[in-house]
């Protein structure tokens, strides 16, 4: 199993990778920080990864996307799976008063992923097999005042993935949209956790299974599916009055 992971040092990606490492997978890990990349790579190696290759990339550096993907394909001699899991939980308040903040959120959480997917889709479509998995969010299911910029970026991403799944299904390539709820990770360290917060470990396990079973859309933990069904079904005249 040859896996490319973008945002490899995120807690969710790492937890997912741990499960694949146990199966002896080969990894091409992409992230921004050399120290974190090294720590993550060493961990996966000890846990059973057959091979670890790393690549430093700031995902907002669009010019290097092609180069990164080509290097991954040539180094691992092909790819079986991709997991894209980078993201930032932007500051909604800042975004509301700054176009540049809002665009920055979109670049990291949405357009950078779309850029990577555009390149990867061609490769996988030609290869006629494989699995592309992207971490989106339940926040993309409905805009809420508390984080609609992040939500809109993830929502756009989810729609993009829907279309891509439709297109690539003809080529036998699976596209998995992962929609986690609130997870206890470094990204959400400053967010107050309620009863519904999940551990990164459980979510990683869920992503692993979704990738193995070539699922379409998975909510993690599972209880977010009924919750979001309810959230989506509230009529807008009522919804707009809620403080969510």
């Amino acid at each position: 199993m040859r896996i490319l992971i973008v945002g490899a040092t995120s807690a969710i990606a790492h937890e997912t990778a741990k499960r694949f490492a146990k199966d002896g997978a080969e990894f091409f890990l992409v992230a921004r920080s050399p120290e974190k990349l090294e720590d993550t790579g060493n961990d996966l190696k000890v846990r059973g990864a057959k091979r670890i290759e790393t690549f430093l990339l700031d995902v907002t550096d669009f010019d290097r996307h092609q180069e990164m993907i080509e290097t991954a394909i040539s180094t691992l001699d092909g790819l079986d799976m991709v997991l894209i899991s980078h993201g930032t939980l932007g500051d909604q308040q800042k975004c509301q008063v700054s176009v540049s903040e809002t665009l920055k959120e979109f670049t990291t959480n949405c357009t950078s992923v779309i850029s990577l997917l555009t390149i990867l889709a061609g490769y996988f479509e030609q290869q006629k097999r494989g699995c592309i998995t992207v971490v989106s969010s339940v926040a993309g299911d409905r805009g809420r005042q508390s984080n609609y910029v992040y939500g809109a970026a993830k929502g756009a991403l989810s729609v993009f993935l829907q279309g891509l799944r439709n297109r690539l299904s003809k080529a036998g390539v699976a596209v998995v949209t992962v929609k986690p709820g609130l997870i206890d990770t470094p990204m959400t360290a400053s967010v107050k956790k309620g009863l519904l917060a999940a551990s990164a470990q459980g979510v990683g396990e869920g992503i692993y299974r979704a990738m193995k079973n070539r699922k379409e859309v998975v909510y993690l933990p599972w209880y977010w599916r009924p919750i979001m069904l309810i959230v989506r079904s509230i009529p807008e005249p009522v919804f707009k009055r809620l403080s969510l």
Partner: protein
């Protein structure tokens, strides 16, 4: 696999005392460490809260959650040398190494402790008489001090800090990672014997007979019964099984049970404790039973019930573990057991064991040659505390000690008598570190920086 995220409000396993830090700070990466000197309050590392009392608590201070430092660094499978971050749990290590033919050198009664905690409490296990404490197998670790220094400590490098940190209760700095030696095994099974005994004398006799032959020994005892014989119980001893044919056999996993909420306090009363003990003692019909069992139930019988501490209800409980030297130990045990019986406090899950002579490098290490007994007491307010104070007196008179990792109440005076090297140790305590335990036993009552 549980989806539930653990809450990061620090609690100790006994859930007594219930104190809160001023702040909880998480450390996620070794490359992004906080500057400890910037914290206004004293700091104490915390991971899974498996210490029983207040040695892992820092009331009004900063609790530094290192449980996210959970990465392996290297594993030399030829030499059996493992290096990992301090927040990795022994459970995670076992999951990795057992299928590859290795085992942890010393294993406490639960596998849900962090490596950092295993070092800071210099934990011991069923093989103390053969292998010493966990600290005896540590080859080196990295320690973050509040002045920003990151020191490699080993028996050859920064030796004093190495010795102070082993058993140092997290007070000498933050252990970032550690390297230690593993023990080779042929398969994940334990070849064990369970022997009934009906007096303390008989326990000591079985202990003396089996110590050479068996790597692991411990006993479950009922001290509320047996009159002049002091106790009855079941002596469990075992060795790692040597049969190659079992090597690839899975030990099989049972789904862990969880105690989902605090039971009302009256559930564990002297009647239920007595019935439990009765059932346990008679769970075997013959005097000696021999069998081959997976390692998990042998080493970690309680790990199969997650959050068993909730059995004690909201009030929490105190664990009391002491050691008394072999010489005069019998008299001290008689006195202690007598006092407990008279107090009417039941003790569920009482564990008896002998410690061997292997010395730990740790300055504040608890184990020393003698007989050790660990008892649980539901927290019943002043009368429980009073009983334990009385027991301290007996332990002290016999030249023994009480285990800090399980303590929430010993006096400074007693602590200083139990651990004569405490002042030497105190020199290596980082000035920005403290704990509720340390303030109590060192008499540094106020929350001020030195």
């Amino acid at each position: 696999m549980s989806f539930l995220s653990k809450t990061n409000q620090p609690r100790s396993w006994g859930r007594y005392p219930k104190v809160t830090p001023a702040e909880v700070q998480s450390v996620f990466w070794r490359s992004e460490l906080p500057n400890i000197a910037d914290f206004e309050q004293p700091v104490l590392p915390y991971a899974y809260g498996r210490s029983y009392g207040d040695s892992c608590l820092n009331e009004g201070g900063v609790s530094l959650d290192v449980s996210h430092l959970r990465r392996f660094i290297s594993f030399d499978e030829d030499e059996g040398l493992l290096c990992c971050e301090a927040g990795v749990s022994l459970a995670e290590i076992l999951e990795l190494i057992v299928p590859r033919g290795w085992f942890i050198p010393v294993s406490p009664g639960t596998r849900f402790v962090s490596v950092g905690g295993a070092i800071a409490n210099d934990v011991h296990g069923k093989n103390h008489h053969k292998a010493g404490t966990f600290g005896c197998h540590v080859t080196r670790f990295e320690l973050l001090r509040s002045n920003g220094e990151r020191l490699i400590c080993s028996p050859h490098e920064n030796t004093n800090l190495f010795q102070a940190t082993i058993g140092g209760l997290g007070l000498t700095g933050v252990i970032l990672w550690a390297e230690f030696r593993l023990k080779p095994i042929v398969n994940p099974f334990i070849d064990m014997e369970r022997i009934q005994f009906s007096s303390l004398d008989e326990f000591l006799q079985i202990s003396a007979e089996t110590d050479q032959q068996y790597e692991y020994t411990m006993s479950w005892v009922d001290i509320l019964i047996g009159g002049q014989n002091l106790c009855r119980g079941i002596f469990m001893c075992g060795n790692n099984d040597q049969s190659r044919s079992l090597a690839s056999k899975k030990t099989g996993r049972k789904l862990p049970l969880t105690v989902p909420f605090d039971l009302p306090s009256f559930v564990l009363n002297s009647l239920t404790v007595k019935s439990f003990n009765e059932l346990f003692y008679h769970s075997q019909l013959s005097k000696r039973v021999h069998k081959v069992v997976p390692y998990e139930p042998f080493f970690y019988p309680l790990d199969s019930i997650h959050e068993w501490n909730r059995l004690y209800g909201k009030r929490g409980f105190l664990q009391y573990q002491f050691v008394v030297p072999f010489q005069d130990g019998f008299g001290a045990m008689r006195e202690i057991i007598g006092r407990i019986r008279r107090s009417g406090e039941g003790s569920f899950l009482t564990v008896l064991k002998t410690f061997g002579t292997i010395r730990s490098p740790g300055m504040l290490s608890f184990p020393r040659p003698g007989i050790t007994l660990a008892l649980d007491f539901a927290y019943g307010g002043q009368k429980t505390l009073q009983l334990l104070d009385e027991l301290d007196k007996v332990v002290r008179q016999s030249g023994g000690a009480v285990y800090p990792a399980k303590d929430a109440r010993m006096s400074a005076e007693n602590f200083q008598a139990f651990f004569p090297r405490w002042q030497e140790f105190a020199q290596y305590v980082d000035p920005h570190f403290s704990s509720s335990f340390w303030r109590r036993v060192s008499h540094a009552q106020k929350l001020v920086m030195v």
